[in-house]
Assembly symmetry: D3
Homo-oligomer: 305 residues x 6
C-alpha cells in the first residue's frame, strides 16, 4: 500500500501486464467489444473502466479466508484485440486468443465486453476441457436462436454453445432471469435441455446460500464455467448495464453465489456487459471489479485459511 | 422483434400513435407537465423519456401469464397538450382531454407529469364512474390543503378529489408514506376520511403479497384507480424523482403491489413524477415503463394463461 | 405555436411521420447505426435525440429568407431499419431503403448514424443521378482504404465511393480537415483524385463566405450531395461527436457553408456522427437539428424572399 | 483571501446577506423562478448555483480599473420569494419586492430566474424612474404577444413592458438576436417601436467596441436597464441555458458590451435564464457570476482608477 | 411552509446562520475538507450540497415522535475554515473551532468533509467529556496506523484517537465493516482494544433493531459520539461516497441505527465522506441531510411524544 | 493502426511503459496530485484520463511536418508516486523523481496534476540546466506569495521559483492572463522581475503567430521550459479545468503558441490542471493529449520535413 491509489497506468488490481500466459495459473483478460448489443452500447469501455476502479481492491478476502496471490501466479494479459466493425471476425480473434491462454493452463478471468464474447471463449474452453458445466447469472437467458437474421449477438451465446455441444447441459444453472418476453414460457426450451432456471422473483429478499448448496450438488466436481452478466443485479446497483431489467439481484446475493462456488472445478470466469457510458459514478465498474476479485478467490487452487 | 431497438420515432412500447380513443380498450397517454412541483422540475420530459426506454419491453408477461395485446386494443394517444405557464389552464386541458378518452370506453394509462395531473384526470374518471376507489402508492400523501396560497400543486391532488367527492374514501389505500413532516400525526386527517395509510417503515424487508390480499378485500369489485408516484420507490431505484424520500419501497414490492391488482375493476392507471433531468442513466424511466406495462397486464379484460 | 414544446411523440420538426416517400419533395430520414465507429459509440441514438431537440425549431429562416414549408412537401420518414450486429447487412438495408426514397423523387435529409452510412446512401443517389459532386464537411477525410481488414467503417465511405465511381471527383470539396495522421501528406491521394481539400487551419478566424463563392464555381449546377460530419465543428460546440478533433470550425462557419449552397443542385444531405452519450446538455443534437433545417432551407426548389 | 474557497454558506461573492435594502447602493437579488419557460426548466436553481460559483470572484477589476467595493455599499439581499405554481402571483411578489428595493435607492443586480421576471422588475423600476432605456442582450427578442393564450411567459416580457409604457423605446437596443422564426421579418414590430436590433450574424468574429460607442450615443445619460439573457452567448460557452440557439456571441463580446456601459446611467441589471440542470460543469453559472460582477463594476458611482 | 423550496441562501434546514455557539443546545457545522482522502476527492463540497438538499426537510419526525425544534435551540454555525493545502494545519483549525463549540455547551452535528476530521473533533470532545463511547457506522474501520508515512488521513482517525486515549474502548461499536483487506483478520486489533465490530455481512437482509438493543446495553448512559461515514451504506443508496464498498447497509438499517440511539447520552454526531462530484442526482446529499436530521431527533433533550 | 482504439491498458499514445528514463530522449510522466488546488479538485485523475483520450492520436503531425517518433526515443514512464495527504512531501517525491529523469538526459513531458507540481519539477530542471526561460500559458500568474499561510499551492509555483532563482526572469513570458483580482495592477510584480505578461484580452480574435515571433526573439536559444495550464483556454474548450476563467484563449491559439516554439531549446514541458471530474465528455483530456503531442513535435531534435 505504498503507492497512492491514483498513481499509475491502470492494470487490473495493479498486477503486472504480461504478453504471454505461460507460467500463469490465472489471468485477467479484457475483451473490449460491444457490437453484439441490441440497445445500449459502451461495453467496449468495460475493461478499461473496471481496471480503473480495481485500484481500490486489496489482496486478501477476510470474508472467505482466501489468499489468492499467495496461491496463484496471476497477471493482467491486457486486452484481446477485436474488430469493432465485424462481429464474426471479432469472435474469431477472441477464440484464437483464448485457445492460447487455455492451452497454457491459465484460467481466464474475463472483463467484458458484451455477452456475445462468451461463445468464442467457450469454444476455446471446450476445446481443452470438453463440454463444461455453466453457472450463468443474468437477467436474460441469452438463448435466442436468431435475431434480425443474425446468429451472433449478445442474446444468443448459449444457444450457439448448446448447438455446438460445448455445454454439459445437465450441469447448467441460470440465476436471476426476469422481464417481459415474446412467449409465455420462455424457459421451456432451456429446461428441455436440462438447464436449471432460477427466476429472480424466486430470489427476492432471500439468502441464496441454500440455493448454492443445491447448485454445488448439481454441478459436481467436473469443469464448470462462471458467466456473470452484470444485469443480473438490480439497476440500482449496476446502472451501467447494457440491457438493464428491473427487480434484480442484490450485491450480497451476488457474493453468496460466487462464494458458493468455492470448491468447484472452475475453469474460467467472466464478468460482462458493463457499459461505463451509463455509469457516471463508476460504481458499476467498481462492483464488477469486486466480483472478479471474488471469482479469483473462488478458484480451485486458492489457499483458504 | 424484426426491428432494431434503436429504430424509429419512439411511441410507448412502439404502439401505433393514434389521435382518437375510439375503439380502444386502453391507451397510453402522456401529460408533459411539471409546473405543479415544489422543488425539482423535469417531469415535463417524463412521457418522452418513458417512451424511449419502453422500446426494451416485449409483449408478454411470463410472471403473471398476462397476454395484454391478445386481449385488448391498445395504442399510444400521444400527449395531452398542456399550458406550461398556467397550472389552472393545464388542469382544464387535461380534464377535457380525459373526458373524451373515458367517454370512449378507453382506459387511460398515464405517463406523467407531476402529481397535480391526477386531480383533473380523476374529475374525468369520476364523471363517468362516480366516486372511485384509489390505490395510491407514494412517499407522500398529497393531501395538503393549500401551499403558498395555491390549491393546485403536486402536494394537493387528493385533497381536491376528496373535497369534490371524487373518491370513495373507504376504498382508498395509500402505500409507501414516509418522511419528515410539519405535524406529528400527518395521517390523522386521511384516516379520518376512511383511508388506509400503510407506512413505508411497515413495508421494510417484507413481501407485500399479504398486504395486497387485504387491499383486494377492501376495495372489492367496484371501480378503482391506480395512482403510482415513482417516489414511492427508494431513490436508489428511482433517482429521477421530483421529490425523493429515503428508505422507500423496492421494485419487487412495486411489482407485488401492481400484480396484486389483477382481478380488480381498474378504470385507470398512472405513473407520475419521473424527472429525467435527475436520471442520467435513464433507469428511472425504464422502471416507469415496466410498471406501466405491468399495470396494462393487470387490467380487467386481459387474458391470463 | 399552439402546442407546448414538450408535448408529443418527437418527429423531426414535429412533421408528420409517413411510411412512404411518394409525393414528397424532401424528407428527413434517420439511420440509427453506430457499429462503423472506431472509438466512441452512441450515434445509434443520434436520430432520436436530434428529433427531440428539433422541437425548438420554427418554420422560417429570417437570415436567408427561405420558406421551406411553403415550397416543398416535407415529412419525417422515420428510421431505416438497421442490423446493429452486422455492418454489411446494415449497408444493404440502407441502400435498399434509399433507392426507394430517391426513386420517388424525394430528396433525403439524413439524421445519422455514423459516417459509414454515406456509402450505401451514395450508392442509391448515384444509381439515380450518376456520379455526383460532394461537399464534405468533416475533421477527417474518411478516405482510408481498409482498417483492421475491413473495407466498411466510418473512416472509409468516400474511398468506397471513389472506388465504385459514385463521385464526380473534380466536384468534390472537403472542408475542416485536421488532426494528427499516419503519413505526412495524407491529402495527396484525395488531391490526386481531384478533390479540393480545405484544412481547418486555413479557416481559423475567417469568414467562409469567400470560400463558398469558389466552391459554387467549382461544383456548378450539376447534382451535388452534402455530407456534414458534426466533428467538423470544434468539440466546444459539438462535444457529442464520435471522433472529436481539436481546433475545428465554428457554428457561424457551418452556417456560412450551408447557406453558401443555396442555388446549387443539391440532391441529398446528411448530418452524421452525433453521439448523444457524450452530449449531456443535448446541445450537439440541437446544433445538428439546426444544421439540418438550414440544409432544408438551401434545397433547390425552396422559395426565397 | 484568508478563507478557503469551499468554506461557508454561499452568498453572492461572499457578501453579507441582508434582509433590507436600506443604506445600500446596490444589491444582488435572486429570483428563483422558471415556470415562465417554454422548454427546458431549471432556472429556479440559477441564483443558488450562480452564488456557488461566485466564490471564485475577487474584489477588483484590473481590466477596467473598477473598485466596486470601495465605492458602493453592496450586499446580497437573498431571494425574492416566488410562487412556483402560479406565474401571475409570482410576478406580483417580484414587483412588490423590487418596489421596496428601488424605493430605498438601491440598484438591483438580479440573478434569474427565467426572463419573465423582467416584466415585474421593470414595473418597479419604471414606477420610480419613469420609462427607461434598455440594453437587451439575448438570442431572442422576447416580444411575443401571447403564446398558448398566455400574456406572461419568458417570450413576452418586453411586449408587456412596451404595452404598459415602461420603456423609452428610442433608447432600446437588442443585441445577439438569431434563430429560426415564425415570420420572415420578426424584427419589424420592434423596429417600428424604435428599437435598434443587432443580429448575432452581424457580430460574428467582430469586436463590439465600435457598436457600443454607437449604443452609448443612442442611450445618452438618462436611466437605462441592462437585461442580459445568458442565451445571447453561444451554447458552447453557456450550455446551461433554457432556450439555447446556435451561433451566438462570445464571452469576450459579452465583456465588451458590459464594459461599454461604463458611464451610462444604469438603474438596474439582470442576468437571466441560467439553468444549472443543463450545466454539468457549472461553467455557465461561473460565466453568469462574472458577468454580474462586471455589471457591478459598470455602475454609475463606481470609482475607476 | 410559506417560502418556496428553491428560495434563499442555503443553510442547513433553513436555520439561521450564526457566528457563535453561545446559547445553542445543538448546531450544524460544516467542515469542507477532503485532502485526507486516498482516492476520490470532493468531500470539500459535502457541506454545501447537504445544505442544498436539506431544504426538503420538515420540522417534525412522525416515525419517532421527536420535536427537535420545540426542545432545543439549534442553528447553523456555517463552516469551519480549513486549509485545503495542509492537512495538519486543518486539523488544528478544526480542533480549535470545536473546542469553542463544545465549551459553549453546544452539541455539534457535523457535515463532512472526509473522515480525517473526526480526529480533531474528538480531541475537542474528549477535552470536555473525557474518553467517550463511539458508535461508528462505516464500511471501513479507519484504524490504520500510517499510510505512505502519514499518520493523518481518512483511514486513521480512530487509531489516532485510541493512541491519545480519547475513546472509552469498551464502549466502541463499529457497524457495516466489509471489503477486501491487507490481512486476513483486520479486526483483531480493534477487538483487542475492546471494540465490538459488526460486519456488513452479518447485517444483510436483517432488521438492526435487535442489534441496537445490545448496543444500548453496551454503551450505557455515559457520553457517546456518533460517527457516520456515508460509505456504510451500499453505493446504490450513496453513490457519492469517497471510498464506496459493495454490499453495504440500507437506508432503513441506517434509520434503525440512529433511531436506536434515542435515550443515549449523545455528545456529538457527524455525517462524513459525501462527495457531490460522484452524485449527479444529489440523492447522496439528500440521504445525508436526512440522517443528520434523524441524529438531531435522537439528541438527549429532544421531546418525544 | 492494426489494434482497435478501445483495446489495451492505456499508456500515453500507446507507448511502452518503462520504469527507467535511461536511453530515452523524451518521456511522458504523470503526476496525479491535486491537493494544491484552491477550489475544484480532480486533477489527481488528469494523467489517467489524458492517457485514455490519447488513444486517438496518430504518429505524425501534417501541419508542422514533425515526425517525432522517427527522431526521438520516447516512452511513458508512468506516474510519479505522490503523497495525497501531504503537499510538501509530494513536492519532495516529485523533485527526486524528476532529478533522475533529467539526469538521464530525458526531456520530461508532464501530465498534471495541479500547478503546484511545477515548482519541484523546475527545481530538478534548474539543478541540471541552471535558471531557465519560461513560456507560461495560463489564465493566472501563479505568483502569489502565500495563501492561508501556505507557501506551496497551485497559486504560488512561480513565486517559489523566482525566490529560489530557478528562472531566467528576462526570458519569462506569461500568456492568457485574465480575471478579477485583489489589486488593480496584479502584473506589476511580475513585470518588475522582467516578465512579459500578455493578457487574454490582448489576444481576443487575433492570430498569435506575430506574438510568437517576438517571444522567440526574447527567449533566444538558451534552455526554456513550457508550462501550459489548461485554464488558459476558454472554459468552452476546457470545461474540466480546476480554476476556469471566462473569455480565454482558443485551441487554434494554443496550437499557434506551441508550434511557435519549434526551434527553441525546450528542456521540459507540462500540461497541468485537467480535472476529469468536471469534464463529462472527456474532451478536455482529449485537448490536453493533443497539446502534449504538439509539445513533443516541437522538441529540439524532432525531424521536420
Ligand atoms: Mn447476458
Ligand atoms: Mn443480460
Ligand atoms: Mn405524489
Ligand atoms: Mn411523492
Ligand atoms: Mn466522417
Ligand atoms: Mn469525422
Ligand atoms: Mn430572453
Ligand atoms: Mn433568450
Ligand atoms: Mn470512514
Ligand atoms: Mn469508509
Ligand atoms: Mn496555473
Ligand atoms: Mn490557471
Amino acid at each position: 500500500d505504498l503507492v497512492a491509489r491514483t498513481t499509475g497506468v491502470c492494470s487490473m488490481m495493479r498486477l503486472p501486464v504480461l504478453a504471454s500466459p505461460e507460467g500463469l495459473d490465472a489471468a485477467f483478460v479484457g475483451v473490449p467489444l460491444d457490437i453484439g448489443t441490441s440497445n445500449r452500447p459502451g461495453a467496449r469501455f468495460g475493461p478499461r473502466r473496471i481496471r480503473e476502479e480495481s485500484v481500490m481492491l486489496r489482496t486478501v478476502n477476510p470474508s472467505t479466508g482466501a489468499l489468492p496471490f499467495q496461491s496463484l501466479m496471476v497477471a493482467d494479459l491486457g486486452d484481446v484485440n477485436v474488430n469493432l466493425n465485424n462481429l464474426q471476425d471479432s469472435c474469431r480473434l477472441i477464440r484464437e486468443a483464448y485457445e492460447k491462454i487455455v492451452a497454457a493452463g491459465c484460467i481466464p478471468l474475463t472483463l467484458g465486453g458484451d455477452h456475445t464474447i462468451t461463445y468464442p471463449i467457450l469454444q476455446a474452453i471446450a476445446k481443452k476441457h470438453g463440454p463444461v458445466g455453466l453457472l450463468h447469472v443474468d437477467a436474460h437467458m441469452d438463448m435466442a436462436d436468431k435475431a434480425l437474421g443474425e446468429k451472433l449477438h449478445h442474446g444468443t451465446p448459449f444457444r450457439q454453445c448448446v448447438d455446438e455441444g460445448l455445454l454439459d447441459c445437465k450441469r447448467v444453472v441460470q440465476i436471476g432471469i426476469r422481464g417481459s418476453s415474446m412467449t409465455l414460457d420462455p424457459y421451456r426450451y432451456n429446461r428441455s435441455q436440462g438447464f436449471r432456471v432460477v427466476l429472480a422473483e424466486d430470489c427476492w429478499m432471500k439468502s441464496l446460500v441454500p440455493l448454492m448448496g443445491e447448485v454445488r450438488q448439481q454441478v459436481g466436481d467436473r469443469p464448470i464455467y462462471i458467466s456473470f452478466d452484470i444485469d443480473a443485479l438490480d439497476p440500482a446497483y449496476a446502472p451501467g448495464a447494457g440491457t438493464p431489467e428491473i427487480a434484480g439481484l442484490t450485491p450480497s446475493q451476488a457474493l453468496e453465489i460466487i462464494r458458493g462456488c468455492q470448491g468447484l472445478n472452475v475453469v474460467g470466469c467472466e464478468l460482462v456487459e458493463v457499459s461505463p457510458l451509463y455509469d457516471p459514478s463508476g460504481n458499476t465498474a467498481l462492483l464488477a471489479a469486486n466480483l472478479l476479485f471474488e471469482m479469483l478467490c473462488a478458484l480451485p487452487k486458492v489457499t483458504i485459511v
